[in-house]
């Protein structure tokens, strides 16, 4: 996996967070969780998952979603996808 691919995934995920939470100032980091973004409740989490599935063109399963407890886990999952 290249650094360029990692950066591309991180940028795409950051853009999704900015759009979903309607806040252009969000800068994601590995340890960030729902506790760090006030509006990140269960409904917004579902919206995030839908946005990630749509933007990355994937379908996540329940097990994968259950593991997405922080941004680091999201990045790790998304970085495994084949490069576009």
């Amino acid at each position: 996996m290249t650094t360029a691919h990692r950066e591309k995934v991180r940028k795409k995920l950051n853009d999704i967070f900015c759009e979903v939470f309607n806040d252009d100032d969000i800068v994601i980091s590995e340890n960030m969780t729902a506790d760090d973004i006030e509006e990140w409740d269960s409904l917004m989490h579902v919206t995030l998952i839908v946005a990630i599935e749509g933007e990355f063109g994937i379908q996540l399963n329940a097990a994968e979603i259950g593991q997405l407890e922080n941004i680091g886990a999201m990045l790790a999952l998304l970085e495994k996808l084949p490069e576009e």
Binding site: V46, I49, V50, E53, G54, Q59, I65
Partner: protein, 150 residues
């Protein structure tokens, strides 16, 4: 178009990417006045033809949120209907609608998330008089499930 009396009962399994649905509505003066009363938005742009014409419009402008109200009907009555739970709408108003215009609400299924039981609809509302696009919206819809009671 009169208030619908039949509610569709689609579940997430009834949807596929690219599936389409549309319906049309004629907006009456009474609709605009009732919406102004209900919402409290009595801005003269919506209530006074002369005021609106002075500002370059053809007449009183239909409230944008009256138009978007038809998205509620789209989701809650037709597509999916009975089991729908509206999660969110991203909307852009692109051109004005006027009293007596007939608008066509067209939607296409853009995304289906089986893991979250949510669909994303892309909606275009057009004025049938001139085919102008009045609004574009992205609508996120979930599905309710019975809790087994009653």
């Amino acid at each position: 178009m009169p208030t619908p009396t039949v509610i569709a009962e689609k579940t997430i399994d009834d949807f596929s990417i690219g599936q389409e649905f549309s319906f049309s509505v004629t907006i009456t003066k009474s609709d605009v006045e009732r919406f102004a009363q209900l919402s409290g938005d009595i801005n003269p742009l919506h209530m006074d033809d002369g005021f609106a014409e002075q500002r370059g419009f053809k007449g009183r402008v239909v409230h944008g949120l009256l138009l978007s109200g038809y998205l509620s009907r789209l989701v809650g009555v037709h597509f999916p209907g009975r089991h729908a739970l509206l999660h969110g709408i991203n909307i852009n108003f692109l051109s004005p609608a006027y009293v007596n215009d007939t608008v066509n609400i067209e939607c296409i299924v853009n995304q289906i998330s089986l893991s979250t039981r949510i669909i994303i609809l892309k909606v275009v509302m057009k004025n049938l008089k001139n085919n102008n696009v009045l609004l574009r919206a992205k609508v996120q819809v979930g599905f309710t499930q019975t809790n087994g009671l009653r």
